[in-house]
Amino acid sequence: MATAVELQREDPRARVNATLGMVFFIGSWSMAFGTLFLSYFILRQRVGIWPPPGIALPSFPMAAAATLVLLLSSVVLHRAVARVRRGAPGAAALWAAATAIGVLFAGMQAWLWYDLVLSGRTVESGAYESLFFGLTWVHAAHVACGLVALLWMQVGLLTGRYGVHRISPVSNAAMFWHFVDVVWVVLFVAFFVL
């Protein structure tokens, strides 16, 4: 049962504070991933021919499908946050759908790794594999954190701890998930398009 105190609307100033803090965090994380991408481009330039000839590459169709899946989860999550903001019904269900799609992405990511390992390419095989595994590992760690955050918010939405009266944790978790999504798109472009 939500008490009267809990249903007080969140102080709009506090909401701005929380959002601003999250924006700075995202800025910081962008620098962390920017560093990884810089490493990618420097090593790629050192290697010369890219991808190095004669090695098995991760599956393009699966990576493209994973990209679409992750984008879809972001779109669904965005709709869920909009519903939370309006206090509209069905927010928790949409949120659950976005989380489930996120889990599906994690599965596809695991398949990408497994497929590559099956064709004999491991993280120790060379610069390409180091970059592919290393960068996707770091990204996957953020996906895992994002999924934990999404589940946490899911529980909060279901118990009424979060909702229209307290939205900043929800919108911040969503912001983090969108960020993880954007990083994946850059990863996809770096490894499969360029």
Binding site: D11, L36, L38, S39, P52, V123, E124, G126, Y128
Partner: protein
Amino acid sequence: MSGDHIHPEPTSFLRKHVFSVDHKVIAKQFMWFGLFWLLIGGIMAMLIRWQLAYPGTPMPVFGKLFFSSTGGVIDPASYNTLFTMHGTIMIFLGLTPLMIGCFGNWCIPLMIGARDMIFPLLNMLSFWTVMLGGAVAFYSLFVPLGGSEAGWTGYPTLSTTVANQGTGETLWAVAVFLIGASSIMGGINYMTTVIRLRAPGMRWTDLPLTIWGLFFTAVLNVLFLPVIGSAMILLVLDRVFGTQFYVPASIMAGGGGGDPILYQHLFWIFGHPEVYILILPAWGIVSDLLSFFARKPAFAYRVTVGAMMAVTVLSAVVYGHHMFTTGLSAMLGESFMLLTMIISVPGEILFFNWLHTIWRGSLRMDTPMLFALSVIFVFGLGGLTGLYLATISTDIYLHDTYFVVGHFHLTMAASALFATFGAIYFWFPKMFGRKLNETLGKIHFWGSLVPLTIVFCTMFVSGYAGMPRRYYDHTSADYLKPLQHLNVTTSLAAFTLGIAQLVFAFNFIKSRWWGEKASENPWEVGTLEWTLPTPVPHYNFKEIPNVVCGPHEFSNPAIPDGKDWIYQTEPLAEQPA
């Protein structure tokens, strides 16, 4: 006023003193933490200096304690670990927690009129993360094969498994990562707090310069600590999972492999802003202290802020001057040289502003002021010698010599440390309700400044004469034997410097519990923290203050009651037309 960040006063011991979210308690935790590591790092410096002055001679006292297996002689591997961990500890676990962790936490809410940091829980997490980082760094010294031996910069291939198979190096990388994460959390907190929680009426131009320095440092922390974090992740992947980011091992397989120079880029993209992370709060603190103790407004406040802002921006684009000897393309090298030279312009503006601030002031030579003045001196020495290192032609000769060691110790170590000491002497009365003893403070000051100048100026001479840094035993090379007396001079001065710090330690402990009780505003300064009673209550400000004037309104003829200072909450009298 946002009520969100106000939390009730805790009652249990654990929540009050250990897992506290109160910025004042966290500031003191950072202070004890930083002082502890300063002591450890300082002892390491003494051990290094002993080995350099008297190679192969058993060290008295400490030798028996730490190096009993060799009869008190420091062995080469331990020596490598000592200079590596001395740098790492002093930068990441000594100065950063003290200056940014302690004084960032202490000053920001109190000086801008806030009841706490904006994210108190994140603040606590920041402290416990650096605590964990410190524990990992400490533990790394005792694993098989010993601690990191790759230098504080951790360059590959020395830091990869090619050179060092032990877990010490890996733990070093993990520790740096954790400490970086802590700094990022702190930085986000500081930035958001300064932006969102300034008291009503406090414009950006009413902020004390200390806050400006800490704010710019927070920006750099948030932007550039993630870079070292990522570089450390790649290093750990290389060491533990056999990736090839930094090891050029797979040239035969696929025509490619890692690149040790990649690490140097990543490290210095972080590393150069890091020296400004350490010096910007020092500049801010010094700018304030000089004004407070010269009883004059800080000269050209806005220009000082602009200069610090320019340094913050430029600090991101000069890192290549650390890499002139790596075969950097000539055009890139010259660009970095030019940009590095340009950064001295805002640096000089700061100097002139400081000199103008004290010019014809009514100087009060209390210990905080002495330390603030000494920063002008030691940073001047360090800054001027920096020009030789920024110039490619001279840097190629001076690279990796003691000239570099002298330069960066004077700038980022001595200046930051002296500003921190100034800050400790200055804010101690508000923190603990007692004053540090002035006589002992002055002994500490002169006992620090004179030997410190000798230590690092002698290093300029020996470096210019060609003495390389990080060597275990300079007497093993014939061409360095005539320079050994310089090493002895440096070491004797360094030991004096070390002993002077014991005076400070004694003063700190004695004054903390048995010192002379301080009045609520012993320095007669008008910034917001001095409007508060001592000890500062849990909620800081009973009423959020309304700020009506700047932080440096000293000797303003419009100050009523014949005082020469005014609180930031008090209005100046109407000026006669």
